[in-house]
Symmetry: C2
Subunit: 295 residues, 2 copies
Amino acid sequence: MSAHPTFAGVELGGTKCVAILARGPQDIVASETVPTTGPEKTLGAIGGLLEQWKSEHRYSALGIASFGPVEIDASSPAYGSITTTPKLGWRDTNVLRKLQRIANVPAAFDTDVNGAALAEMRWGSGQGFDDFAYITVGTGVGVGLIVNGRATRGFAHCELGHIRVARLPGDAFAGSCPYHGDCVEGLAAGPSLRARIGEGVADLRPDDPVWDSVSWAIAQLCHAIVCAAAPRAIAIGGGVIENQPHLLERVERMLVESLNGYMQLPSDGPYIRSPALGANAGPLGSIALAMSALQ
Amino acid sequence: MSAHPTFAGVELGGTKCVAILARGPQDIVASETVPTTGPEKTLGAIGGLLEQWKSEHRYSALGIASFGPVEIDASSPAYGSITTTPKLGWRDTNVLRKLQRIANVPAAFDTDVNGAALAEMRWGSGQGFDDFAYITVGTGVGVGLIVNGRATRGFAHCELGHIRVARLPGDAFAGSCPYHGDCVEGLAAGPSLRARIGEGVADLRPDDPVWDSVSWAIAQLCHAIVCAAAPRAIAIGGGVIENQPHLLERVERMLVESLNGYMQLPSDGPYIRSPALGANAGPLGSIALAMSALQ
């Protein structure tokens, strides 16, 4: 038996969930994938794994990293719930309560991006930092903003993907966010690309002018993040970036132009960087959350 | 002699500095104003007061709340300095080092707005909150963003007044910020009003259309603050707001419209509110910083 404590984690995603038992990225004891269907069935299967692992291995804490929006206000009776999701049956499902009842250990509950941000800080591109941000640009734009070692969470979790930023001059696309039109998510996430381009998104070349608009919106988001909390670095992942990795450098260049010398970015390596944990950032995020539950 | 410890504070302002000795807002032992001229003379006078108070009263810690930009990165050799100010002679002046050498007690150094935010949380409009924001709209737009009880400070302090936000449709004013043109400060601070209106700023009526543009820019700033850290409330002060107090309600209304139901503001009282400490927020900010130096 290892001298290090073991943690259980659950990453709830829109199409699949991962239940994981681990002591860190190099020491994953078990990992199981469960399709995201209805909450009874999906959480039932995850609960079964947590039950089984409890008797076989013991674990010290549970972390749950969920798609959102979620209620993270511990003073709310809905704390631990997925709230206004359009996903069938999941609205107002209290995930934390259901799973903690089974696990019966200290538990932490947060967004998937906050979990991924904490995992990147512990084992990946944000190691050694107390202030860090993780952005994912995929079907949406999610941001985990870590200040003094903890994710921001006042009356709600970070939603910086939904700020309204200055537009790239000449870009008049109305944006695709159903709430805000041309917020960052409405200008840079996958659905905005399909709204701009139609079917050809997968074939877009790196020099297509649409990437100017996408880089600009993400750079403006980074400008706001720098002005809000001056993280030591910002990691950006997600499907849109993974398919067009040249965007990272363009975002950093536009960010520097936008700040225009008013603030100087740290000079140790690229400020805008790739996440280091890749596809493992999500499940490891739940393990990082579990670890935080004991702190 | 009081059972409560006494703290020394220094608020460095652009035209005057205040040195204060206090146990809280109801228990101010001494307060002296020193004009801001050159750093030798001004800091010399403040140092003399700190020296005198040390022998007469003793104090447990020192807080310095300064106009910016300042170096707040404790790992930097310039920690405690005013950095790139155009103010004659003050550039690269290490205020913290000079004054702590005299006070010889634990000291905290931060921006004036971060100090005011902490003071409002301790004694004013943000009491009972761990997450709070304080905005001042005057000759500039300053923001103190408090997350988990502490001001954000990664590689730099909060500069949210300099984010670039979506423009009010139809408002084509280029903005007056020398760095960013139409950032929030460039759209809403005093100099932007003079650039838009000329000499008649003091005579502007509450229904002048310029207030739509100003409220909009501040509401977009609040939208970004809510998305970044969801503070429990936002207090807004400063000369522009004090002269046009109707702006607070307009900003809240525009903020709610801008969030468009995606996030629900807390419903306990106005979310956008007046600071409670008035002209005392600055000096009391330095006392709140001094208290934080012992935590």
